[in-house]
């Protein structure tokens, strides 16, 4: 048993850290304030290979593994949670299912521009009345000759604002519930796709969260992903992998806030000594670190299981749950350690606190993760 990163993973971690320090950190506050990740940064992350880390080289990916992907999302999220989820949703939720369920032609057509970051990917599952209950989709499709015609609406679509490539879910017949659901690859520039709005949010403000109306959207029949009726399985399988990305994002946010809180506790003097001399602060730091390390072990384990083609459903649910709860806890304590300064925007932990909350919610709320875990325990 070995808990150390391989030399290759260390080289990767070092390279990503260097990039994040110089390119992501300086624009993180601006990303939050302007509700947009600078295009320049998206382009640079694409050039670095962040948008296709674990996809094979033959489709324009970097050909690395899931652990490398987790490290990339974690390191980027230490500085900017919005940029972290851009990579996570794009890779896990769009490149991932196209690679796993796509035909050779589909992979050759759609993956290279996604993996280079030239086109940004998203996952169109959630609707006003269907989130984790994916069988309740109201967006419909019908076949017309060589095309599918899609009607309905989608909400809370991470990365939707880029209008790039999407993996979209729709039903042929609502009464069939999850058996009626199919998945499609869609170019979001297709006529009939309309952005209703990009949501204003508590956190991850640089990340687009988009509502779409789909009005008689015609897509070629060849864009069906997998078989008709296989959509529910594709969605569940995709979310399984996606949870490792969200866990990595949450882990990064927690680590970013911890680094700042630790440094601040050593600088800030009260009663003639640094506040890190106070046991009240020391215990906070210990609790924060223990939660971070626990989450990291579970996140890396889930990635390792996936890399080794072992079952990882339980671990991906656990790492997402642990890391997101670590993130909300650690960012809250980081503000407390900063005192009044933590509450003002200049000290960054305020942003991290806002960014952390969503990780307990998206890609399956933590309540759903507990359902997944307990079902597996009791099955």
């Amino acid at each position: 048993m070995n808990f150390e990163l391989s030399q290759d993973h260390k080289v990767l971690q070092d390279a990503v850290r260097d990039f994040v320090e110089k390119e992501v950190k300086p624009v993180a506050a601006k990303t939050d304030e302007e509700h947009m990740i600078p295009d320049e940064l998206v382009r640079k992350m694409g050039e670095m290979g962040f948008m296709g880390s674990y996809l094979p080289e033959e489709y324009g990916g970097a050909g690395l593994d899931m652990l490398s992907y987790a490290i990339v999302v974690e390191e980027v999220s230490k500085a900017c949670g919005s940029s972290g989820v851009l990579i996570s949703a794009h890779t896990s939720l769009c490149c991932g299912p196209i690679h796993t369920f796509g035909t050779e032609e589909q992979k050759i057509k759609w993956l290279p521009p996604l993996n280079s970051g030239e086109v940004i990917g998203c996952f169109l599952l959630t609707e006003p009345d269907a989130g984790s209950d994916a069988g309740a989709l109201a967006t419909t499709y019908r076949r017309e000759g060589d095309e599918f015609v899609i009607n309905g609406s989608k909400i809370f679509i991470t990365n939707g604002g880029y209008k790039g490539t999407g993996v979209l879910f729709a039903t042929s017949d609502r009464s069939l519930k999850h058996k009626g659901v199919s998945a499609f690859i869609i170019d979001l520039d297709t006529p009939g796709v309309e952005i209703l709005k990009n949501e204003k949010k508590l956190g991850i403000r640089g990340s687009y969260t988009t509502a779409f109306a789909l009005d008689n959207v015609r897509i070629p029949a060849e864009n069906l992903l997998g078989q008709e009726g296989q959509g529910f399985r594709i969605a569940m399988d995709t979310l399984n992998g996606g949870r490792i990305g969200i866990a990595s994002q949450a882990l990064g946010i927690a680590e970013g806030a911890f680094e700042r809180a630790l440094a601040y506790s050593k600088e800030r003097k009260q009663f003639g000594a640094p506040i890190s001399d106070l046991q009240a602060i020391q215990f906070k730091l210990a609790d924060m670190w223990a939660r971070i390390e626990t989450s990291k072990l579970m996140t890396y384990k889930a990635a390792w299981l996936k890399d080794n083609k072992k079952s990882y459903t339980m671990e991906s649910a656990m790492c997402k749950m642990l890391a997101s709860e670590a993130a909300t806890f650690v960012t809250k304590e980081a503000i407390q350690i900063h005192g009044g300064y933590g509450f003002i925007c200049d000290y960054e932990v305020e942003r991290m606190f806002r960014d952390a909350k969503i990780t307990e919610i998206y890609e399956g709320t933590n309540e759903v993760q507990r359902v997944v875990i307990s079902k597996l325990l009791l099955s």
């Binding site: 030399q7 290759d8 070092d14 390279a15 050039e47 296709g52 970097a62």
Partner: protein, 258 residues
């Protein structure tokens, strides 16, 4: 053209250093290591020259040390070097710059390198001797502390940094050794696809005993942190009282009032 880049792996300079048990170097356990900053400029310049010459030169990157130095070699390979040479040495810190240079020269002797790039010094030992010693041992021309580099018509034009911000320009014929200084270039990031490609590049491992035939000419006698200076004194009280206290201290502990 054959190019050699000599790199060293050094601790993260923000680490907290403690003397080791023998008191002649720092304790290495728990330290994070990375490529010596000046050597990154050397790697970047070598790769830029390879690009300038349409990929013709073969760039070999060499490092001496324990297994962990493979991380620095892999980074250099991901930045664009073609092959790695790891000179396996569990304790390079016990060798003086003369021995380190002689190991490199011994390896380089039969290889016919046209140009050798290295950092002007390491961030940890900082002797700045290895580059020039390698040049001397190989009988190569040498220029140090480069802040500018160009190559044309078989000639290296090196811009050197001198004291007080003055620059000097030197032209060297090949073969040559150049040592690189901050400001020479901006090292590229190793991209993920290039990190993947680097995994497939060859790294040759050579035990240091095969190349080391020289005795040390200098030895580190002691490694120690600077002595702690006493903290300042904060005077408290009203102004009149403060003046009296300060006057007393100046009179007692300094010669200002004598």
């Amino acid at each position: 053209m054959k190019i050699l880049v000599c790199i060293k792996q050094v601790p993260d300079m923000e680490s907290r250093f403690r003397p080791n048990a023998s008191g002649t170097w720092f304790e290495e356990s728990d330290l994070a290591f990375r490529m010596n900053e000046y050597d990154e400029y050397a790697v970047e310049q070598a790769v830029q020259l390879k690009e300038q010459l349409a990929g013709e030169p073969e760039v070999t990157v060499l490092s001496i040390g324990p297994d962990r130095v493979n991380e620095a070699l892999k980074k250099a390979l991901a930045m664009g070097c073609d092959r790695g040479v790891h000179i396996q040495d569990p304790a390079p810190q016990d060798k003086d710059p003369w021995q380190i240079a002689s190991i490199i020269a011994q390896f380089a002797q039969g290889e016919g390198f046209d140009l050798v790039f290295t950092g002007m010094q390491s961030q940890d030992r900082g002797s700045a001797q290895v580059g020039v010693l390698v040049a001397e041992l190989l009988g190569y021309a040498c220029a140090t502390t480069l802040v500018g580099f160009s190559f044309s018509d078989g000639l290296v034009t090196a811009r050197r940094e001198l004291e007080g911000g003055i620059k000097g320009v030197v032209k060297l014929g090949l073969p040559a050794v150049v040592t690189c200084q901050l400001g020479l270039n901006t090292p590229r990031y190793p991209t993920l696809p290039n990190i993947m490609k680097a995994k497939k590049k060859d790294v040759l491992t050579i035990p240091v005993a095969d190349l080391l035939h020289e005795e040390a000419v200098a030895a580190t006698a002691r490694f120690y942190p600077p002595e702690k200076k006493g903290g300042g004194i904060v005077l408290e009280g009203d102004v009149g009282n403060l003046v009296e206290q300060l006057y007393g201290i100046l009179k007692e502990k300094t010669t200002v009032l004598r």
